[in-house]
């Protein structure tokens, strides 16, 4: 018998019969679209109802609006909830991605960022009407300067890489003000990829400086690279091997003697809060990743926030406007005298900044130090559990993260690829570490437990890493078997690019 009704896809593929995870595919939302179905509603405003033809010139008016999705709110929620169930997150468990500092994000910070008084303020409102926002931003800036040992700050950069470019452009402007135009920026081989990319975008040439046998920048090696044409050096400390750059004071002296500046990549700031400060080490420019160290949640890839703090001699070059406190206790916007100009359309990722301020208030001075102590303790304890199983190319006391390798591992892990270990870990209920980074270590696994994981969790993570290492390569190649999908055909994705639903229907 035939039916007039032709069903389309439903969330879950087969209505509610699909299991939460690991079973049926979730259809693309476009498969569920039914012409004429809608969720949207609008206020009654009493505004005259002119037609589109009366409002838009004929040659600019599109006859039909672009096709969106036509779906009920209920099905939209079901679809998105099912997608959520196909997604790992910090709230679900440990996320030991090295260099990413995936710590727990306190819920009270979510509530703070949802406050109507913060959310409903237009960024162009006159300062008298946004005193709370200005006070918040000014206070956060002061606290971040204290944590980093710097003097002045911009909160505009919306991410770490944006902070890097902003800082390098200030470096450039400072040299120009000294009547110089050096062309090179030095970067250790272990640096994050954003560093050399930002250097190029700032109009500089990136020159790679090799680390010494201990994984550090050595003053001896560095001296061979320092000349009149060096604008500065970008360093992460602790570096991406999780090691503290012990010679940083000598490095700073040498770079300053060569009239260069020191840029601090704050990706690893979580290791040293309250213990030591980039400013005290001799750095001139510092960016922070508030979505790492200051518990701003990462949002599946963003938004983050990448404020840049500088010493007095660079303060005049900061992007403007910057929040300032007046002698009468009110707050206003100031324009630094020789500002490089805006680096964000408004004032940066303000709600992320509000979360970071709540996090600073929650922890205070002692709490921030406790964060770093526990982060370093967890990393070293984890390393002690892995030493017999994985190779430790630079085996020294670690800071907040550790880099191990399957290459030359003492046991059976020696035959495994880092990628397979990562996938095997997924099967055991943990997110995998960062793999194949830093580039200076073959088959690298970069593991950062963070301070918010308990010893029990770090222990379980270590057990899982040890267990994976005893598996066969052939077996691990099948992993993960328990995730919603298993390994994807990435070559197919690149060869037959399907970046949209419409590309699929064209293909």
């Amino acid at each position: 018998m035939s039916h007039a009704y032709v069903p389309r896809a439903a969330p879950g593929g087969r209505a509610s019969s699909a299991p939460l995870m690991g079973g049926g595919e979730e259809p693309a939302i476009f498969e569920m679209s039914v012409p004429g179905r809608r969720s949207a509603s609008f206020r009654a405003t009493g505004v005259p109802e002119w037609t589109a033809e009366e409002l838009v010139p004929a040659d600019e008016l599109r006859p039909e609006p672009p096709a969106m999705v036509e779906i009920s709110e209920r099905d939209l929620v079901a679809h998105m909830t099912r997608l959520a169930h196909r997604q790992y997150s910090v709230d679900m468990g440990a996320y030991p991605l090295g260099s990413c500092t995936m710590k727990y994000n306190p819920k009270v910070c979510d509530e703070a960022a949802a406050l109507a008084g913060l959310r409903s303020a237009h960024p162009a409102a006159p300062p008298a009407y946004v005193q709370g926002w200005l006070e918040l931003l000014w206070s956060l800036g002061e606290a971040l300067c204290e944590v980093t040992g710097m003097d002045a700050i911009t909160l505009q950069p919306p991410a770490g890489a944006a902070g890097e470019l902003t800082g390098l452009l200030m470096m450039r402007a400072w040299h120009a003000s000294e009547g110089r135009s050096p062309s090179k920026v030095l970067i250790p081989g272990s640096a994050h990829g954003t560093n050399p990319a930002s250097v190029s975008l700032a109009g500089y040439r990136a020159v790679s400086v090799p680390s010494d046998g201990r994984g550090l920048v050595s003053p001896g090696v560095l001296s061979g690279y320092l000349d009149d044409d060096v604008a500065g050096i970008m360093l992460t400390n602790p570096n991406t091997l999780g090691l503290f750059e012990e010679h940083i004071a000598e490095v700073a002296r040498a770079v300053h003697d060569a009239r260069g500046l020191l840029y601090y990549d704050g990706a690893n700031l979580n290791a040293i809060m309250g213990v030591t400060r980039p400013g005290d080490m001799g750095f001139d420019i510092v960016h922070m990743n508030l979505h790492k160290t200051f518990a701003v949640p990462h949002g599946g890839g963003g938004p983050g926030a990448g404020p840049v703090a500088v010493t007095h001699r660079l303060a005049a070059f900061l992007p403007g406007p910057v929040p300032a406190r007046r002698p009468d206790g009110t707050f206003a916007w100031d324009r630094p005298a020789r500002s490089i100009g805006r680096t964000h359309g408004w004032h940066g990722n303000a709600l992320a900044l509000a979360r970071a301020w709540a996090y600073v208030l929650l922890n205070g001075a002692d709490g921030l130090r406790r964060v770093s102590e526990a982060a370093v303790l967890n990393a070293n304890w984890l390393l002690s559990r892995l030493r017999g199983t994985y190779a430790v190319p630079y085996d020294r006391p670690a800071m907040h993260e550790v880099v191990v390798s399957t290459r030359d591992a003492p046991g059976p892990a020696a035959g495994l690829r880092a990628l397979d270990v990562a996938k095997g870990l997924l099967e055991r209920g943990f997110h995998s570490p960062t793999v194949y980074f830093p580039l200076v270590v073959a088959e690298a696994l970069m593991i950062e437990p963070t301070e918010t994981e308990s010893p029990e969790t770090v222990h379980a993570l270590a057990e899982a890493l040890v267990e994976v290492a005893s598996g066969s390569a052939a077996d691990l190649a099948q992993a993960p078997r328990t995730a919603p999908v298993t390994r994807a055909d990435e070559a197919l994705a690149a060869r037959t690019l399907v970046p949209t639903w419409d590309a699929l229907s064209r293909a």
């Binding site: 008016l61 009407y129 004071a249």
Partner: protein
């Protein structure tokens, strides 16, 4: 104080003992003594979460801006956001996940981004859209960098109709690259593109441009015809970079239909509250010719080794972690969560809802503009058709008018400098009622009299 470190004193003792250490300080033995911070950080002690919530509420309540009836726009618009967007974009699986480096356990974010990319591609009328950039201004910078890379040229023509704050960001962030950024003036709200032999802004054209950048609607709210910009681009073999508005897309022909090579937009109007300017959303779409220069992440649909549909980030060789100093963009962290919010908002609006939203903004804009232009001391800044905002010249300094209108209960608009003159740009969203607009016009009359 609140404490998110789970370690008990006993835990710390046990863990240190396993490491043959006696005290936490010894963990930092690699930090030279001279660099140790003596006396700790000069910050107050930590607070309980209740005290923090109180303090954050005090700061939030110290902003009276939200109590003003908002007619400010220029890239940040006071649209309604339905509860479903907050609910979905507030789910911890989306809020607390990282960039989808392990696709097997990140299908949720990846599929949502694929659906977002599809919807942005349809808004822009171009076949490929990325998974988000920081905001409209920085998306424009990436578009210009793409054009410079694609053409090997260094001159860029930028319409004065592009939001002046965005132009400032473009100037600032490309300062190291030796670009020749040439502003092309607006005449009566529409860009006066130079003819083949003309000079621009007084400086003789030295070289053909890499890109021609045109915003429609532009900062004065005017529809700035993209065919004229396309013709200007074609005359010099340049790429056309179009700045569009995702709400206006409900009514206007797409940048793609007009031949744009790259289209960028501020995505805030779709699902993001004003938020004091961030986090917002950079939308970015390109033609297939330029997909290998696309900045940021791109999600593609593929299959897993068992044949099931799977989503991955693709064409990764473009990105900074692989190309390093040869990368044309340094972006790593993006605005995924904001993109997911926009995707939900677009799905909730639906095809008809997007049209209706655009129509309602356009109706309100027309209504208020017609109510204000007759007010003594007010002149329209341009005669070209407007869509969601419009510029006014005022008999008093714009900042003064904004302050006085605030006393009357209105955020009257955003002061915008265009060349030598300053105008007030007034935006009307679907939230504004006829009664609010009538009251605004009355207040403006009082302020200017």
């Amino acid at each position: 104080m609140a404490d998110y470190v789970p370690h008990t004193d006993d835990d710390i003792r046990r863990l240190l003992a396993d490491l043959d250490l006696g005290a936490l300080d010894e963990l930092f033995a690699a930090v030279p003594a001279a660099l140790r911070l003596a006396g700790g950080l000069d910050l107050p002690g930590g607070l309980s979460e209740y005290e923090v919530a109180d303090e954050m509420r005090r700061l939030a309540d110290a902003n009276s801006a939200g109590g003003l009836v908002c007619f400010a726009g220029t890239g940040a618009y006071d649209h309604d956001v339905p509860a479903v967007v907050r609910s979905i974009a507030g789910r911890p699986e989306f809020v607390t996940s990282y960039t989808p480096y392990q696709p097997e356990v990140a299908q949720g974010v990846l599929q949502a981004l694929f659906e977002y990319q599809t919807l942005v591609s349809r808004l822009a009328g171009l076949p490929v859209a990325n998974a988000s950039l920081y905001d409209g201004a920085t998306a424009l910078v990436e578009a210009v960098n793409l054009a410079v890379g694609a053409t090997g040229r260094s001159t860029v023509w930028v319409s004065q109709g592009v939001n002046p704050r965005w132009r400032e960001v473009l100037w600032a962030l490309t300062a190291g690259r030796g670009l020749d950024l040439v502003e092309v003036p607006l005449v009566d709200g529409v860009t006066a593109w130079p003819g083949p032999e003309a000079s621009v802004a007084g400086s003789p054209r030295q070289a053909p441009p890499a890109a021609v950048v045109c915003a429609s609607p532009n900062v004065l709210g005017c529809i700035d015809p993209l065919p004229a910009a396309r013709a200007a681009a074609d005359a010099g073999g340049a790429l056309l970079v179009a700045v569009f508005d995702p709400v206006a897309s409900g009514l206007l022909r797409t940048p793609g239909e007009h031949g744009a090579d790259v289209a960028v937009a501020e995505g805030q109007p779709l699902g993001t509250p004003l938020s004091f300017g961030g986090p917002f959303l950079g939308m970015f779409a390109v033609s297939l010719d330029h997909v290998r220069r696309l900045p940021g992440r791109l999600v593609g649909r593929t299959r897993d080794i068992r044949g099931r549909t799977a989503y991955v980030t693709t064409l990764r060789a473009r990105e900074q972690d692989i190309r390093r100093e040869r990368a044309s963009s340094n972006i790593c962290t993006n605005q995924t969560l904001v993109a997911i919010a926009a995707m939900v908002q677009m799905a909730w609006l639906g095809t008809g809802g997007l049209r209706e939203l655009a129509l309602r903004c356009a109706r309100g804009t027309r209504y208020l503009r017609e109510a204000l232009v007759p007010v003594p001391g007010v002149t329209a800044a341009a005669g070209a058709p407007v869509l969601r905002e419009f510029g006014l010249r005022l008999a008093l300094p714009v900042a003064t008018v904004v302050d006085r209108m605030a006393e009357e209960g209105f955020l009257a608009g955003v002061p915008v400098e265009l060349g030598q003159e300053e105008v007030l740009v007034v935006a009307v969203t679907e939230r504004r009622t006829r009664a609010e607009m009538d009251a605004y016009a009355t207040a403006m009359e009082k302020v200017l009299s």
